[in-house]
Amino acid sequence: MSLITQVKRIPKFYRGNAACPGCPIPRELDILIEELGEKTVLVVPASCSTVILGDTSGMPSTVPVVHSAFAASAAIASGIVRALRMRGDKDAIVTVWAGDGATGDIGFATLSGAAERNEDILYVCYDNEAYMNTGIQRSSLTPKGAWTTTTPEGKREFKKPLPFIMAEHKIPYVATASIAYPFDYQAKVRKAKQIHGFRYIHLLSPCPPGWRFDSSLTIEIAKLAVETGVWPLFEIENGEFRLTSVSKTLLDKKNRKPVIEYLKLQGRFSKLTEEQTKEIQESIDEMWEQIKEMVKK
């Protein structure tokens, strides 16, 4: 008999769903639902998650799900939470679970509107940096230089800095997170759960087919995004900026891995020239200079 007692964890998001091999979404949802508890409603706009969440014959989620048109999720969530509160339900958590296109492009006005009204909802953007469900088309959150089916030469424009834009809405809580750092992610969801008003968590969510990497590398790539400084982990609570997890150690450039280590594992960056790679490195360093300023404040 083993001396170690096995902790049996009951999954909150069932396996056997329609996610691709190596897709982090089911695990991300599992952690999210576990932290938020069973009095959670998920609002899900058109995305990979629409498919992952099953069909009329059943779903892998253990909490209620309300599917949403592409641009409507923050508004549907606003309506749900207002109705629940009117019914006297004070603690149910209404959570939008949306991709980068629904968040930063087609649903951006809706998101901004709900944030400006400080609706009592948690909005989680799982950012796989393109329209993956329709087959890898660029979004405003695709990074500069990345190949997609609509940017065969590589995207020319920068990635929309959504977490910072959301912070400018003066909402009570904004955070970034990564599936490679599950405890950091978990802690942020836990914190967001305790706060009332509009809360925004932005998860970088690597996509094996879309980013062109082997499905065994998801966590490694997610980790490299943080270690190279491409994806800083932070939270902004009532305007106060704070780096979290390993990102705390990355203010000094020496501690950051060169971005090439992150880029070289992904087919979507395979056509980058040396000069372009240098430019990407410079933009990351520049972002960290800005972060330094924010930390000082």
């Binding site: 779903m59 508004a75 606003s78 019914r87």
Partner: protein
């Protein structure tokens, strides 16, 4: 048995009459975006909420698309909900209109009908309202301010009836009704309370979580659409039943899927929908004075379309003239097409008149003239009153 009731009467413009009905219906969540000619209704609702007369959440929303999305979410979570819009706003809502219809949640939307750009026009026609005819919404339209008030209350009840469960759109002509003051008899609050009991519909149950509106495979999708069609057909008798019940409360005999004005013994009939039905009635009276056996069939419920009633009332007419304030371009007057299709197989000549687009004035005289032309054999199959 005639019951003589002393009713409270108020002088209200259409927008305020609808707002008054909404206040009495006690919705819990509203989301309304300003658009002419609906805006004064939104302002009145904001006043009711601010003064505490209506205890509801009014979401000051950033667009019409989001307005409908918000009340959809609230309806799914069990609230009685309301929105109002017009014209471009209804078009901008379009995706969510279909979304709510497809999911079949109870909700009420008032549409202050208005022409669609381009070119810009803030004036009345029915193009906006008619553009949503295939969205699984019950569509009703008022002739006057009194009816706009009455139909708003009935809309909530119809929408929430368990045999129906479907969104209801209440159309009333922009400016012609929204901004015109009329004497309106209103129900007492307690009467509305008994007519409209608290809503029993909720899809968010934490102890029994479901996915609302997931993917449907082809067999299932087709079945869901067929159910919607059956519910629409079923709604016809439910609407009649609810309207009759309302009639008893209000003491005003004026309701049904259609209204027949002097059409029982008529040989010629107009068919209309909305505010200009009043002008048509004046025309009918004048034509009768001239010895022409004219009548009017007013369509009050456009979806589900009252095919049977149309057949019943128009089957032996010598001529029917359908007035349309909306067009299916490349096809014809929308109401005229529907009437023709309802009368298929019967030998009733149906003439289509397209008029009043973008607020172009139409008066009783126009109705008279067209009827005279019909009788003298001068009316084309389709005429535009330019």
């Amino acid at each position: 048995m005639t019951q003589i009731l002393k009713r409270k009467a108020l002088a209200l413009v259409g927008n305020h009459a609808v707002a008054y009905a909404v206040k009495q219906a006690k919705p819990q969540v509203l989301a309304v975006f300003p658009i002419t000619p609906q805006t004064t209704m939104l302002e009145k609702l904001a006043e009711y909420i601010s003064s505490g007369e209506l205890k509801a959440e009014l979401v000051r929303i950033e667009s019409e698309h989001s307005a409908l999305a918000t009340i959809y979410g609230a309806a799914v979570a069990g609230a009685r909900v309301f929105t109002a819009t017009a014209s471009q706003g209804l078009l901008y809502m379009g995706e969510m209109i279909y979304w709510a219809g497809g999911q079949r949640v109870p909700m009420v939307a008032a549409v202050a009908t208005r022409a669609i750009a381009e070119p810009w026009s803030i004036w009345d026609d029915h193009q906006d309202f008619m553009s949503k005819r295939d969205a699984i919404w019950i569509q009703i339209m008022a002739e006057n301010v009194q009816e706009a008030y009455d139909l708003t209350l009935q809309a909530f009840r119809i929408s929430e009836d368990e045999r129906v469960i479907m969104p209801v759109m209440m159309g009333f002509d922009g400016f012609i009704l929204t901004h015109t003051m009329e004497r309106v008899e209103v129900l007492e609050d307690y009467e509305v309370d008994s007519f409209l009991p608290p809503r029993q519909f909720n899809l968010i149950d934490f102890s029994d979580p479901i996915g609302v509106g997931p993917i449907a495979q082809p067999d299932e999708y087709m079945r869901i659409r067929y159910e919607a069609m059956k519910a629409m057909e079923r709604a016809k008798s439910v609407i009649e039943e609810i309207m009759r019940e309302y009639e008893k409360i209000s003491g005003r005999k004026q309701y049904g899927l259609v209204e027949c004005y002097k059409c029982e013994d008529a040989k010629y009939a107009f068919v209309t929908m909305g505010a200009w039905s009043g002008d048509a009635k004046v025309a009918v009276d004048r034509l009768r004075d001239q010895g022409i056996e004219a009548g009017l069939l007013k369509i009050r419920v456009f979806r589900p379309f009252p095919r049977e009633k149309i057949k019943e009332y128009l089957r032996s007419m010598k001529g029917v003239i359908v007035f349309d304030r909306a067009v299916s371009f490349g096809s014809g007057g929308i109401l005229a097409n529907e009437v023709k299709s309802s009368l298929y197989g019967l030998e009733v000549p149906v003439y289509s008149v397209v008029a009043g687009l973008g607020g172009k004035d139409v008066r009783p005289l126009h109705f008279q003239k067209v009827m005279e032309d019909l009788i003298e054999g001068r009316l084309e199959e389709e005429r535009w009153l330019l």
